[in-house]
């Protein structure tokens, strides 16, 4: 009862409230649907992170202890875990220095000292000193000693106050190009690693495209042609390719396509020659306009391909997905679908 019926009841009740709460004019229900339910979810998910983190730690430590395959990587994983924990929960690593009462004639000198100590722009610091009597130096110091050292250099020019950033705020505080230890880990270790993984996508797209664009059947040929048109149409070189040139290529390609179907080669050649002649006459009459005929101009063609057939196909899939989501959600809300509870 506890394991199945109660969770099912919760799902049904909350699901129905969320579904029909959208229509009620009751403020309490509206608040629950729009704000409270999502906040409850955020709180539960935040506490649930402990489960995952402990599981991760346990697995990595067991791997090290049992010296399983590639256990050395697990040492890095555990060290990284504890280092981030240390920087987030134990070591604040964020101190600010504020300066007040600096005489106007000393602004330049003080700006020079601050600029040297913080690797910042002198002009910007001077402007900041002139604008504020109580000026916060644009740097977050990771150690109190570092903040005190600069404070001591500036103590003869005005009153310096060294303040630790509040716990919590220290995770995201940033002044100038500096932040806390946690901020440093995020910006100089985590972000470059994420960017590296993201950058791999470029190479994976290339390799996936190479495999997808091989001419195996009609659909693959169509995909390849559309891909070429879209790629060329989106780069500057596509605008430089004359639509007349593309038109001639198209006529020759059509000739190649119909040649196997027509037994009499004279008819095939006549069709191709006629096509070339018509296009030539058209070109002469229009003065070989560089953007016409639009049907053969890559930028116009790619825009049409993107806006019409691609959008139509994407919307069709989205409608299907939307209906699938509606159907699945409805089955879950009415209790018909219980597989996610482990029930079959």
């Amino acid at each position: 009862m506890m394991k199945r019926q109660i969770p099912l009841l919760i799902v049904i009740v909350v699901g129905l409230i969320t579904l029909f709460g959208h229509f009620f004019s009751n403020q309490g229900i509206q608040n629950f649907v729009d704000n409270d339910s999502t906040q409850w979810y955020d709180i539960i998910a935040s506490f649930a992170i402990f489960l995952g983190a402990l599981n991760l730690l346990k697995l990595q430590l067991m791997k090290i202890y049992k010296k399983q395959n590639n256990w050395q990587y697990s040492i890095l994983a555990v060290l990284g875990f504890f280092f981030a924990l240390f920087a987030g929960f134990l070591y604040r690593g964020a101190y600010t220095v504020s300066l007040s009462g600096v005489a106007v004639e000393n602004h330049q000198e003080v700006a020079g000292i601050i600029a040297t100590g913080t690797h910042n722009n002198v002009a910007l610091i001077t402007a900041g000193l002139e604008g504020n009597d109580d000026y916060t130096i644009p740097m977050v110091f990771m150690t109190e000693g570092g903040a005190e050292a600069l404070g001591e250099d500036l103590s003869s020019y005005g009153a310096t106050v060294i303040s630790p950033v509040q716990w919590g705020a220290h995770l995201t505080v940033k002044l100038g190009n500096s932040g806390s230890l946690f901020w440093w880990i995020f910006n100089y270790i985590f972000t470059p690693l994420s960017a590296t993984m993201f950058a791999l996508l470029a190479f994976f797209v290339a390799s996936a495209s190479y495999r997808a664009f091989r001419i195996r059947n009609f659909e693959a040929t169509l995909l390849l042609s559309a891909g070429i048109i879209l790629m060329l149409g989106r780069v500057p070189v596509g605008q430089m390719i004359s639509p007349w040139f593309v038109g001639f290529i198209f006529i020759l390609a059509m000739g190649a396509v119909i040649a196997p179907m027509v037994k009499n080669k004279f008819i095939t050649v006549s069709i191709v020659v006629a096509g070339i002649a018509i296009l030539t006459v058209w070109g002469v009459l229009t003065g070989w306009d560089s953007t016409r005929p639009a049907i053969f101009y890559f930028p116009v063609l790619q825009e049409w391909i993107f806006n019409v057939p691609t959008t139509a196909g994407a919307r069709a899939i989205m409608i299907g997905i939307g209906l699938g989501i509606v159907g699945t959600s409805f089955r879950i809300i009415i209790g018909l679908e219980r597989s996610f509870l482990g029930e079959k």
Binding site: F198, G327, F340
Partner: protein
């Protein structure tokens, strides 16, 4: 006409009537959502009707879906090669319907791995998904009578971050070289990274997602892809339970109604545009 259909239609009409009456008084319902309310009632009753018909014994036809038929083939291949099966349930949490659908498919895959005694590795990106996936796998192994083969760590947490998770799963793929990789859930940019790495190790890959922008990547890199609503019908398809099959048919009928509405809107919008009718049909379908 079917008696039950009439009863349901009458019930729906009564609810809509009560809704509009109460709407006038402005006490219970807020204005501006009339089209949405009617749509919700219509969709709900349609699905309920066909679910009921299926429960009463009507045979429902579902076309064959290659990706779902290939699930067993993939697990069998992994068993023959003596390599594990990798299941990736997406990178989002249980608040996404795709994740729930992914876990439903996980249940069936776990049944097969239990039956064939193949290894199963499920790295997850969210703690709640980890717990739900463990519950699903445990039940599947129990159902197959192989509780001894199940262990909690077959479902393990990696990280919440998108690319760190992709890096972790890639590492698992390159080290353990699973013979079958399943990507069933909600994915974003990491989809191609996972699929290409799986391709490079020679694994058979079956993907399913409700993210329209990721479907082309999966189609290109995977052997089978569940496109759009195929992914959401997996539960009904694999279980063959009449009520679930009935709900799929109801969903299809709703799709038919949507197509009819689209055609009507197209025609009437054209007529309105050229001044042949005063009815601006779009106002009937717009919620404020």
């Amino acid at each position: 006409m079917n008696k039950r259909a009439l009863i349901l239609a009458g019930f729906g009409a009564v609810i809509i009537l009560i809704y509009f009456q109460l709407l006038k008084s402005g006490i219970i319902f807020r204005p501006g959502n009339e089209p949405m309310f009617i749509a919700v009632i219509l969709v709900s009753l349609t699905i309920l009707f066909y679910t009921d018909r299926a429960k009463r014994g009507e045979k429902i036809y579902l076309r064959s879906i290659a990706g779902l038929q290939a699930l067993e083939e993939a697990v069998g291949r992994a068993t023959e090669m003596g390599k594990p099966v990798l299941f990736v349930p997406g990178i989002m949490d249980m608040d996404q319907v795709e994740t729930v659908s992914g876990l439903i498919i996980l249940g069936y895959v776990a049944e097969m791995t239990a039956q064939y005694e193949a290894g199963l590795n499920v790295p997850v990106s969210r703690s709640i998904v980890m717990e739900a996936a463990r519950e699903t796998c445990k039940e599947s192994y129990l159902k197959q009578g192989r509780p001894d083969q199940y262990f909690d760590d077959m479902v393990h947490y990696l990280t919440d971050d998108q690319f760190a998770y992709a890096a972790g799963v890639n590492g698992i793929m390159l080290r353990e070289k699973p013979a079958a990789c399943f990507y069933q859930g909600k994915f974003y940019a990491e989809s191609l990274i996972l699929a290409e790495t799986g391709n490079s190790i020679g694994a058979i890959q079956i993907a399913g997602t409700g993210s329209p922008s990721q479907i082309p990547f999966f189609v290109t890199a995977c052997d089978y892809t569940l496109i759009g609503e195929e992914f959401f019908t997996a539960s009904a398809y694999l279980s063959n339970r009449p009520e679930l099959l009935g709900s799929i048919k109801g969903q299809d009928i709703v799709k038919l109604l949507v197509m009819i509405c689209m055609i009507l809107v197209f025609i009437f919008t054209g007529l309105h545009h050229y001044g042949w009718t005063n009815l601006d049909i779009l106002t009937l379908f717009t919620s404020r």
